[in-house]
């Protein structure tokens, strides 16, 4: 039965001979190449780690120390006041809950719609396929703009509801096309044998395609999830009631710098210079860290699907 596919460790293993566990070892690069690769990767890792360490260090330093040390990598004049400041924000916890809800429910629905549509669209032989693809590509290239969207959402009653952060972004064309491409790479023979066993289209999707597509589902789930997590635009424009704001909007309202409005321009947008509010650097940095930590906590659970390649899998037997 097709169900057997689920139990097989290697998705492309047709259940025949298991791969010998020593196979990977024959596959080593020459030592010098291996060294070069590792050193290169360490350098890249350090370069990309640096900005994050800097933000972390700034978030734990006193404001006056920050400008005395141009690129600090450890906190100077250590203080937790920035985090205390963030945590005393009245709507913070609620907004965190809203964002978690939107991210979890939103990503789930994103995946349901994206996977089903991508599966259907991976069948290029169905009549109308080409037009469906056009129908999906056009929105990727043309946006309607903020005002028409606002009017639409107002008319269908989504304004000021947390669902406005989920439903209008249900499927991203880019992710849909990506997913479909991955479905193409699944050997048709697997699907055919399942069909011969009498599986319906949905059963094929559920028992063959999805189990074999864990890496890409994890990847696209990550794309959707991070997009939900980082999205402040939707909340900002489509939710007026600030008790329903998501985390990123609330964080943004904490750290905003009014002076960013370009006081220098001849048409100064704020005449009242007494109102120029400036947030200390450490608070800005702390909001960045605060928003990233939950993502990091969840990441390893997704990462394992696409980092651990087949080759590694075969080494581990």
């Amino acid at each position: 039965m097709v169900a057997e596919q689920n139990t097989v460790h290697n998705p492309f293993d047709d259940g025949g001979e298991p791969i010998p566990s020593h196979a990977g070892k024959l596959d080593r690069n020459p030592p010098w190449a291996q060294w070069t690769i590792h050193i290169l990767l360490i350098v890249l890792g350090l370069i990309t780690l640096l900005p994050m360490v800097n933000v972390w260090a700034v978030s734990l330093s006193e404001a006056h120390a920050i400008h005395q040390h141009p690129l600090m990598l450890v906190p100077h004049s250590f203080t937790l006041e920035a985090y205390k400041y963030i945590f005393q924000t009245p709507v913070l916890l609620k907004s965190f809950g809203i964002t978690v809800f939107v991210t979890v429910v939103g990503t789930f629905l994103n995946l349901v719609f994206t996977i089903t549509a991508a599966f259907g669209l991976s069948k290029t032989h169905i009549p109308g396929h080409k037009y469906f693809m056009w129908f999906i590509i056009v929105p990727m290239l043309f946006g309607a703009g903020l005002i028409p969207m606002y009017i639409l959402l107002k008319n269908i009653g989504l304004l000021d509801s947390v669902w406005v952060m989920i439903i209008p972004g249900l499927v991203a064309p880019f992710n849909l096309i990506l997913m479909r491409n991955f479905f193409w790479s699944i050997p048709e023979s697997l699907e055919e044998s399942a069909r011969i066993d009498g599986a319906s289209e949905l059963q094929v999707l559920w028992r063959v395609i999805i189990p074999l597509s864990k890496p890409v589902i994890a990847t696209i789930g990550l794309f959707y999830g991070v997009a939900h997590w980082n999205d402040f635009f939707t909340g900002l424009f489509f939710i007026s009631d600030n008790s329903k704001w998501p985390l990123q909007v609330v964080l943004r309202t904490i750290i905003i710098d009014q002076s960013m409005m370009g006081m220098g321009s001849a048409t100064a947008q704020t005449q009242d210079v007494t109102k120029l509010v400036v947030t200390p650097e450490n608070i800005k940095a702390a909001t960045v860290i605060f928003a990233i930590v939950p993502v990091l906590a969840v990441y390893p659970f997704l990462q394992k699907y696409f980092v651990k390649g087949i080759l590694l899998g075969s080494i581990k037997g």
Binding site: Q88, V91, F237, S240, D272
Partner: protein
Amino acid sequence: MMPNAKKAIGLMAAMLLLAGTLLGCTDSANPNGSADGDSGNSGDGANVGKKVKFSYLRPTWGPATYTKGGAYEKELFQRANVEIDVQIILVIDFDAKINTILASGNIPDVIWANGPVIERDRELQEQGAFLPINKYLDMYPAIRQAVPEGIWNKLTDKDGNIFFIPNLIYPVVPFQLMYRQDWFEKLNIPEPTTVDEFVAALEKIKNSDPDGNGKNDTIPFTMGYEWSFKDLGTAFGFSQFSWEPSATDSNKLIPWFMKDKEIDSYFWLQDLHKRGLLDPEFKVNKEPNFAEDKFNAGKVAVIPTHWASYVDKVTKLRKIDANVKIGIMSPLEGPGGKGGNRLVFPMDRGFYVSAKAEDPDGFFKFLNWTLTDGSDFRRYGIEGKMYTVKNGQKVPIPDAERENAYKGPQIEPLSFIGPMSEKLDWDQMKLSFEGAGVGDKFDYVKQKFEEYAKEDFPDYADPTIPAPFNSKEGTKLWNDYMEQITQSAIINHDVTKEQWLAAVDKWRKAGGDKIIEERNELQKDKSKPNYK
């Protein structure tokens, strides 16, 4: 292939039709788009017992953490017998947000906007989006008296209607030259009184090590924006970024980038930049507060900055060096004589009442209350929570020491207008100096303020006079011809005055002349304005 295509197109057409009718239905079912179904208050609502209800959209200057149902809100609602449905939006997002709201016809009863100083709001007034308020100003004199009569006149349209209630600001906001007096004394530099002495002082600082860290890394002079330069600019004899009478024809106003003195000041700054006297990060660092931060971190000797930031600067610098001394230079004497301050138009936004508001009278009654019986509550709030009484004076409790429910972000969204007479309150200022432990400096700062305030440099253009061509084409013409030269003149040392003038020529030919003509034609009164 053909039937295939037809089928697909047919399917899509059917879907379009279906969804179109769906959308059309909801559209026509909700013509007013009013979301606040709970405001069932009809009639005049003048009787005391009836709660006044209205919705209110306003920008906040952050942090936007206002929470409905808070303690202050409850107290206000009870005292004033109102119920306000407040929506807040950060000031930097405000324009985009109200555009969407206005375009969707979803206008709250009371809404903040820029007022008839911009074309959009003038158009909205004309198109009947807002309520004329003359009647209510007559009924409630306290509101009329809160705003100087001259401002009301400017806000009156050609038919004699007033729509807009301005949020006033005090027009004198000096950007004074603050400097490290301790360093100047150490290096034996006397306080500069002229522009030349000022440059000489910067030169001396550049070549020494005032903070004694062994490195020659003290920045003589920094500033955050060109706008910080506005009052130093007066020493050159111009009012920055403003229309002023042309040197050759006092009855013709010309824009800032055509004024010779102002152009020269840009190249003066370029020279400072070239000589390493002006912060090399000027105009390159996008951190909005970099200049202030660097001064507060003890890396800069002189900064032109908001006069009221003195206390903040002293407090922050004292953390690094307990003996720090900050001086304020008097207005410098320059090529244009003795300087003063570049006035600002005494208004920053304000609000409209929607033409569809259910109970405008109730709203004005409430507004009147905030300026009469409720005046003290509006200014000071709740005793013990927001202020204490010392020697018969109401002393505000600093925000950091208040309970969360009484902090600024909970109060600001519920504030409306304050009269001009409250805008420069020296008594309050003195209290805040004392609170910060620099009470002995209060008289010094006040005296400097008054020195700057002596000489006014206003913008001769009246922003309330519509200039339709400029509104339509001005920004584009500016970006096409002037943006690059003005943005690069100071920091790109190859830019010359000839190039600047050539850019102006192109701008004028491409339509700039029409902007100048329009301004001079529509604004009959070209005398020096006075907002004080």
